[in-house]
């Protein structure tokens, strides 16, 4: 009985450890995910820097439309 209890405690301990490890893993992968997202945003903003009209002020001034419906 005592042995069983000890075993069960050990198992619980093991499972607690496992949970902690999983949490750590999860945290790592979340931060990896976040990092990937940040990289993606950086990459996107780099791209926008690249395609945005070089003379923004002139482009905006020149965009003149006539009225429509």
């Amino acid at each position: 009985m005592a042995q069983e209890q000890r075993q069960s405690q050990q198992q619980q301990g093991a499972s607690r450890e496992q949970t902690a490890q999983e949490a750590l893993q999860a945290e790592k992968s979340t931060s990896a995910q976040q990092q990937a997202q940040l990289n993606e945003v950086d990459d996107l903003l780099d791209e926008i820097d690249g395609v945005l009209e070089t003379n923004a002020e002139e482009f905006v001034r020149g965009f003149v439309q006539k009225g429509g419906q």
């Binding site: 903003l45 395609v51 945005l52 482009f59 905006v60 003149v64 009225g67 429509g68 419906q69």
Partner: protein, 569 residues
């Protein structure tokens, strides 16, 4: 009660020639239409330029039961007469080397004859001197101002913008598909000009130049004539004031000329001055009363909606059309919620000016609600009525629109930026905020203003929305392959089918077309034969598909089509 009904979308594109800042915008628009005619000809497909038949247009008829006198109308309201170009304008599009004319810096490069110099002057004039100069109407010349496309759409010069009017469809997803097809038509025209003439005429799917001018993206919905127009406007005003939060296109700058700093939800919000009215270019009303059903007058009205933004996003287009169709069904069954606003015109702008969605507007009964709350009231009414009528389970698209509408409102309530992959204004706002953070820019920085315009550039390599789409950051509902098909093929379940297919198969004999008729000239017969299509749901593949399969000559085809239309009417 469902999202299904006959509907169609119109887009007036912004048009810009970066190399010719003072270019006449009507000429630029005509170049776009003619370039697309070239694309069609080059594809060996249907020839271009079937004359638009204006006989069913009645832009001065008001749904409230009267007609505006022609002499009292604004000239821009007279859309029932073809826009005529001057001889000068025609020559500009057609005869003169474009590069020479557009070269502002090097007048010496222009052809030197006096006549051509004169044409050059015309290009740089803002207004043609008179629309009635010698030269006459375009339809008689080889410059095309109006095309009916093989997919059943109309591409034409509307005032100073190229406009694509989609074919009639029967549901929101098809509305998205043939609206997207219009953007590919516009892109093909731009590419044609670049390839053929080496210059750029760029098109933008937006609604304002941020300098005081607006142009539209309209929706059309078929409704039974029996519904009282007062009930329509009462049911729609609070909905139109608030639906921008789920489908606005976003705009930098506040006020019609964008002079105040900030970001707002809608492109169009600051341009409305009236609740209800006939005009579309001046004193713009939230609910437009143009009574031009393009269908059997005694039976139908066509609700012409001008209170919306042009959407690049497929989901935003889908929700704009799907939720509006549901609200129209509520109105038709007398189930529209009672949420009349104290001042709908002011509410549109106030709601648009708060991307945080906390603004409260006053109702006529004294309640004070946010746009989210008003939208939820409409959604709850639609959900309840769909459940009662069984359509939420019977029709998958109706169920999908309800589900997405709910998810969008819930998402916006929880965290606005969580909707960046589906709601156009949120996608734009989110991207701009990231860009502002990176470079430390204020809302009035020219780079942010440039982003706002370039967002709507239709070129896949330049348009910022297109770049997000290429990265999979916005959700798509229809694939590029399906869109490419919709560029050339009409919907099968409306009269657009007979219009588009007849143009494809009997092109040389189709001498005119409009929304509710196709006119044929049959060899050996006197006069022309007009086939009326006053029932938008007839002339479908199911009705007449067999006629196209039967390899008939044009006389047989016209006779059998006439007989079949008579039976279905």
């Amino acid at each position: 009660m469902s999202v299904n009904r006959v509907m169609g979308l119109e887009t007036e594109y912004g048009v810009l020639a970066p190399g010719a800042p003072r270019a006449n915008s009507t000429v630029l628009s005509a170049r776009i239409v003619n370039a697309y005619a070239d694309v069609v000809r080059a594809g060996g497909g249907q020839l271009a330029g079937t004359p638009w038949d204006y006989s069913d247009e009645s832009p001065l008829l008001d749904a409230r039961g009267w007609r505006v006198r022609r002499s009292e109308a604004d000239p821009t309201q007279l859309t029932d007469a073809p826009r005529e170009l001057t001889a000068e304008e025609i020559a500009l599009i057609d005869a003169v080397p474009q590069n020479a004319l557009y070269d502002d810096e090097a007048p010496a490069a222009r052809p030197s004859s006096r006549a051509v110099d004169h044409l050059g002057d015309a290009l740089y004039r803002e207004e043609p001197e008179s629309a009635n100069d010698a030269g006459g109407r375009l339809e008689g010349e080889h410059v095309v101002m109006n095309m009916v496309l093989g997919n059943g759409a109309r591409l034409y010069v509307d005032h100073a913008h190229p406009e694509y009017s989609s074919p009639e469809v029967t549901n929101p997803l098809d509305a998205v598909l043939w609206d997207q097809a219009g953007d590919r038509v516009a892109l093909a025209a731009m590419e044609q000009i670049a390839a053929e003439h080496g210059d750029e005429v760029l098109l933008y799917k937006n609604n304002t130049d941020n300098k005081g001018v607006s142009y539209g993206a309209h929706e059309n919905y078929l409704m039974p004539r029996a519904v009282a127009f007062d009930a329509i406007s009462a049911g729609l005003l609070p909905f139109f004031a608030t639906r921008q939060i789920i489908c606005g296109a976003g705009r930098v700058g506040l006020g019609i000329a964008g002079t105040e700093t900030g970001f707002q939800i809608s492109q169009r919000a600051d341009f409305f001055e009236a609740e209800v009215g006939l005009e579309t270019t001046i004193r713009r009303p939230l609910v437009n009363t143009r009574d031009e059903p393009h269908a059997e007058w005694g039976k139908y009205r066509r609700l012409h909606v001008i209170a919306g933004d042009a959407n690049l996003g497929q989901v935003s287009t889908y929700l704009r059309v799907g939720t509006t169709a549901l609200v129209l069904s509520l109105i038709e069954s007398g189930r529209a919620p009672a949420v009349a606003l104290a001042d709908p015109v002011a509410a549109v702008a106030r709601i648009s000016h708060d991307p945080g969605l906390r603004t409260v507007v006053e109702l006529a009964d004294g309640r004070r609600l946010t746009a989210l709350e008003i939208q939820e009231i409409y959604l709850d009414a639609a959900t309840a009525w769909c459940a009662e009528t069984g359509s939420a389970t019977a029709d998958p698209q109706t169920a999908d629109v309800l589900k997405r509408w709910r998810a969008t409102l819930d998402g916006l309530r929880r965290d606005v930026s969580s909707m960046a992959s589906t709601v156009d204004w949120v996608a734009k706002h989110h991207l701009m905020n990231q860009y502002r953070d990176r470079h430390g820019l204020a809302w009035d920085d020219p780079r942010i203003a440039a982003m706002d315009l370039q967002w709507a550039d239709l070129r896949p390599e330049k348009g910022l929305f297109r770049r997000l789409e290429a990265r999979g950051r916005v959700e798509r509902l229809v694939t590029e392959e399906r869109i490419a098909r919709a560029v050339v093929v009409p919907p099968e379940d409306t009269r657009a089918y007979v219009r588009g297919r007849a143009l494809e198969r009997y092109r040389r004999h189709v001498v005119g077309a409009n929304w509710d008729s196709v006119v044929f000239a049959v060899p050996g017969r006197r006069g022309v034969k007009r086939i009326p299509l006053l029932e938008p749901g007839a002339g479908t593949r199911r009705d007449i598909g067999a006629l196209f399969d039967a390899q008939l000559d044009v006389a047989e085809f016209v006779d059998q089509l006439a007989a079949s239309v008579d039976t279905s009417a």
